[in-house]
């Protein structure tokens, strides 16, 4: 029998012996003409060896609590009674979520960070249009519950945004202030019709759409739409000739530039 060269040994398929699950890894390698790897490496190849219930973790309450350790029994220097953390730690201790949930895994920590950023952004956008709106408060005891709560709040905020912008001019950004919105109307072929009776201006275009930008009224009726009063301006959009106007859409206030 000719011993396989190095390159051939790397590329040679193990063939039928690979599928023979009753053989150990070393037996399969021997059947294909390779050297045995030794018990320790063979153990590592086994998927069942990748996770064991009794693999030690850093105790709760300690820095890096809950993380896997190397068990302290494998190599030299590990029998000194100290626990060595297996993962790279890269500043995890500084994460605020770890202070609340010390057992959180890095994956959970990352998912929490994503859900937290999503929720913060969506809530901020909704509250720019409706400053009085708040998401339903959610409390949880676990990091998974915390992630679900963040996602629920983000979805709630996005639903609120959609509701606020239901009758909006298509392809406009809810964050645009009155100056940007007016500029956009001119860019889209709208022309100024003239002032309205209450302080405001009406714009029309030749395809039949109408936009009325109004100042927030001084008086508030019991039955008024809240969107008239959230910010200094609101608008109403009629999508085509003769069609009824949509509901009130608030226009977010923007800081005045000097």
């Amino acid at each position: 029998m000719i011993a396989p060269s190095d390159s051939a040994s790397r590329s040679r398929p193990l063939g039928a012996s690979e599928a023979a699950s009753f053989l150990t890894s070393d037996e399969k390698r021997a059947a294909a003409g390779y050297d045995a790897l030794g018990g320790r490496l063979a153990e590592r190849e086994s998927p069942s060896a990748k996770y064991t219930d009794d693999q030690p973790r850093v105790p709760a309450g300690q820095s890096g609590g809950g993380q896997w350790t190397d068990g302290g029994g494998g190599g030299s220097g590990s029998n000194d009674g100290r626990v060595r953390v297996a993962q790279a730690r890269g500043g995890r201790d500084r994460s605020p979520i770890l202070a609340r949930f010390p057992g959180a895994t890095p994956a959970q920590e990352a998912r929490w960070a994503v859900s937290d950023a999503w929720a913060r952004d969506a809530i901020a956008r909704a509250r720019r249009l409706d400053p009085n709106w708040r998401p339903t408060p959610e409390f949880s005891q676990t990091i998974e519950g915390e992630i679900r709560a963040n996602e629920a709040q983000a979805r709630e905020a996005e639903a609120r945004l959609q509701e606020l912008h239901r009758d909006a001019i298509p392809n406009t950004n809810p964050d645009w202030g009155v100056n940007r919105l007016t500029k956009e109307l001119y860019d889209r072929g709208f022309s100024l019709d003239g002032p309205t009776r209450a302080p405001g201006l009406q714009y029309e275009n030749s395809s039949g759409a109408t936009v009325r930008i109004m100042e927030r009224p001084r008086q508030r009726y019991r039955t008024d739409s809240d969107q008239k009063h959230y910010n200094s301006f609101y608008y109403r959009y009629r999508p085509g000739k003769g069609k009824p106007e949509g509901s009130h859409i608030t226009i977010p206030d923007k800081p005045q530039k000097d």
Partner: protein
């Protein structure tokens, strides 16, 4: 079909914010159009009565010329043309004034309904009591 008292209340509520509105758009706002020819006929009658009571006047508006006022005679004559010229468009479910085809729209002066000061006071009292859009389904 609603009665003329209810239609007038709706007209006031619809005009409260802006104080003016294209006549055909106003009709489509205050009813849920079905194409029944009594709809523009009743609208015309309501406008005529409101005009006679000094609560509204008529004007015209278009993109090239903006807003222009009409004399009382011209305004009444404009109201009188409504039921003759309004055509129902089933695809959109709205009434449109057939004299103003398009697009392009709003190139020639089109009639609009404008609240007078007395009409504005009346519209404020209607909105205070009943609110806006009470006839539309809540979304």
């Amino acid at each position: 079909m609603i009665d003329s008292t209810e239609m007038k209340k709706r007209i006031f509520a619809a005009l409260e914010e802006a104080g003016n509105e294209h006549a055909d758009a106003l009709l489509n706002t205050v009813i849920d159009p079905t194409g029944d020819p009594t709809e523009p006929a009743m609208f015309e009658r309501c406008l005529r009565e409101l005009f006679a009571d000094g609560l509204i006047v008529m004007g015209t508006v278009c993109i090239p010329r903006g807003r222009e006022s009409l004399t009382d005679e011209e305004g009444l004559a404009e109201i009188g043309k409504i039921s003759a010229h309004y055509k129902f468009h089933p695809s959109d479910g709205i009434w449109l004034d057939s004299r103003f085809g398009g697009p392009p729209y709003y190139q020639t002066p089109e009639p609009e309904v404008i609240l007078t000061d007395a009409g504005f006071e009346k519209s404020v009292s209607v909105v205070e009591k009943i609110g806006h859009n009470w006839w539309r389904p809540k979304r």
